[in-house]
Amino acid sequence: KKIFEKNDSNSIENIEEFMLENNFGVEFAENFIEKIREERVTDKNIEETLKESIKNILDNTDPKIHFANSIPAVFLFVGTNGTGKTTSIAKLAHLYKNQGKKVMLVAGDTFRAAASKQLEIWATKLNIPIVMQKEGSDPGAVVFDGLNSAVSKNIDILLIDSAGRVETKKNLLKELQKIERVIEKKIGRKPDETLLVLDAYTGQNGLAQIEIFSSMVNISGIILTKIDGSSSGGIIIPIVQKYGIPVKFICTGENIEDIEQFNTEAFIKMLSG
């Protein structure tokens, strides 16, 4: 919904509807309305004030990817079921390969039917190595295998897939902690990036996902997927404001090139239609 779609005779009501419709949440909306009342913002300046607030929230985080001084750089991908982890890995692999990096994949989802096969098909398309074991194997073991292989093959970037999991399953979050420990033990530091892959259609549950995942493992960034759909991904606004975790990439479709580095101006432009 575009900000200026309705008549401007009730700008506060319009801006509130805009915020709610874009999943900013009622807490954020109420705080913003209180702010524009306190600061006596005039009707014609309300939209600009909101854009400014959003810009401040997003610019307060660093969207860059951080590489350590040693190789392989290790990225772990985590998140709720079906958000786009596996596809995002393929897209990043393609991006980094085109930058001349040696990339390797690890099929860390040993649970879901044909999960490894799905990532293997991407590896084949990209002509890059993949480490996988049969379904039902211990994910920690596959990750360990992958790390060893990456070290011995002088891989620059190792991308590790994990099974989707809902934040209510404590045992699955503990499994994620174990994977993080396996990595830390092998390379002497936590993964360079642990990226939570978040679906742009997500509502208030997005806050619970971040809250609980980041309480169990170190989340260094968010990949926002499916922004090409009918949802603006506005849930990232209350998320970034509350948790300070940066959105690092945005995904715009199902094809291998459909990923870009997160950019505040571009996101605000998309949001305000």
């Binding site: 709610l20 009622v26 786009g84 879901r112 991407w122 209510t168 679906d199 259609y201």
Partner: protein, 290 residues
């Protein structure tokens, strides 16, 4: 917790003996916040609050001795009115029934197809899983693996154009006495006219008994537009909400019901083959209201 918050608002009533309009306004505001935080679409939340206000007035809530309980009961009933009741999968005897699953990317269609096949098999039906995603890497492998792991039958031929594949699947059903074909379609966006037209073509070419929209319970305000969008292209007969085992409160279920009027048939409560429950309105209301 809504009940506790309402009791706090109405606590002052004790000293006055009667509720003020301010108390009522505050309680309605509390209800609105609860609904919005549960991902109920803001337009539907407004309508629910207005109806609760109207009914509370009718019931003379200002004189109530238990206003918190009373207003919650009114709210529960308003939500239940929207949710409707469960409804079985419509399977006609002595024919080759087709059930098609459609929805956004990653909503849980493939997993739900397998769950439904097991459910129907346990009801004495003879289901055949039909992979219908020609795009996603290993989509067919995923459905075949789910079938093999759970003793379910799956149609493994996917050569030729989609319409031809379905014709072959129907012939296969006829020759092997399957009475329910479960079509697991590819994920698609309701705003993508090309893929939505493909779905419409299937719906117009074949007699489909059930066209079920599979929605992720974690969806936010967008559920309204999504349900509307799918309804414009295919005649939906019901909905299935997956990932209900997350902490999502499922307000999007109200959007689906509001926009389509079609029954919510099942709720997905996990990744395993048995994690499928028949829709229970009471359970859904309590999750929304907390």
């Amino acid at each position: 917790n809504l009940k506790i918050n309402l009791q706090i608002i109405f606590k002052k009533l004790r000293s006055k003996g009667k509720l003020s309009n301010e108390d009522i306004k505050n309680s309605l505001r509390e209800i609105r916040v609860t609904l919005l935080e549960a991902d109920v679409n803001y337009k539907i939340a407004k309508e629910i609050v207005d109806k609760v206000a109207e009914e509370a007035k009718k019931q003379n809530i200002v004189e109530s001795l238990t206003p918190a309980e009373q207003i919650i009961t009114i709210l529960y009933n308003e939500i239940k009115n929207i949710l409707g009741d469960a409804s079985p999968i419509n399977i006609e005897p002595n024919k080759r029934n087709l059930v098609m699953l459609a929805g956004l990317q990653g909503s849980g269609k493939t997993t739900t197809a397998a769950k439904l096949a097991k459910f129907l098999k346990e009801q004495g039906k003879r289901p055949l899983l039909i992979p219908f995603d020609f795009k996603r890497p290993a989509a067919m492998e995923q459905l075949i693996a789910l079938a093999k792991n759970n003793n379910l039958e799956v149609f493994e031929e996917m050569t030729g154009n989609p319409i031809l594949v379905l014709k072959k699947a129907l012939a296969y059903m006829e020759n092997n006495q399957f009475n329910v074909g479960l079509i697991d379609s590819a994920g698609r966006k309701e705003i993508d006219t090309e893929t939505m037209e493909e779905l419409r073509t299937v719906a117009n070419t074949f007699t489909i008994n059930e066209t079920l929209l599979v929605l992720d319970s974690t969806i936010g305000q967008g559920a309204l537009k999504i349900a509307e969008g799918f309804e414009q292209y295919i005649p939906l007969t019901g909905g299935i909400f997956t990932k209900y085992d997350s902490s999502a409160k499922g307000g999007s279920i109200l959007s689906f019901r509001y926009v389509t009027g079609k029954p919510v048939k099942f709720i997905g409560v996990g990744e395993k083959i048995d994690d499928l429950e028949i829709f229970h309105p009471e359970r859904v209301v309590s999750k929304i209201v907390g």
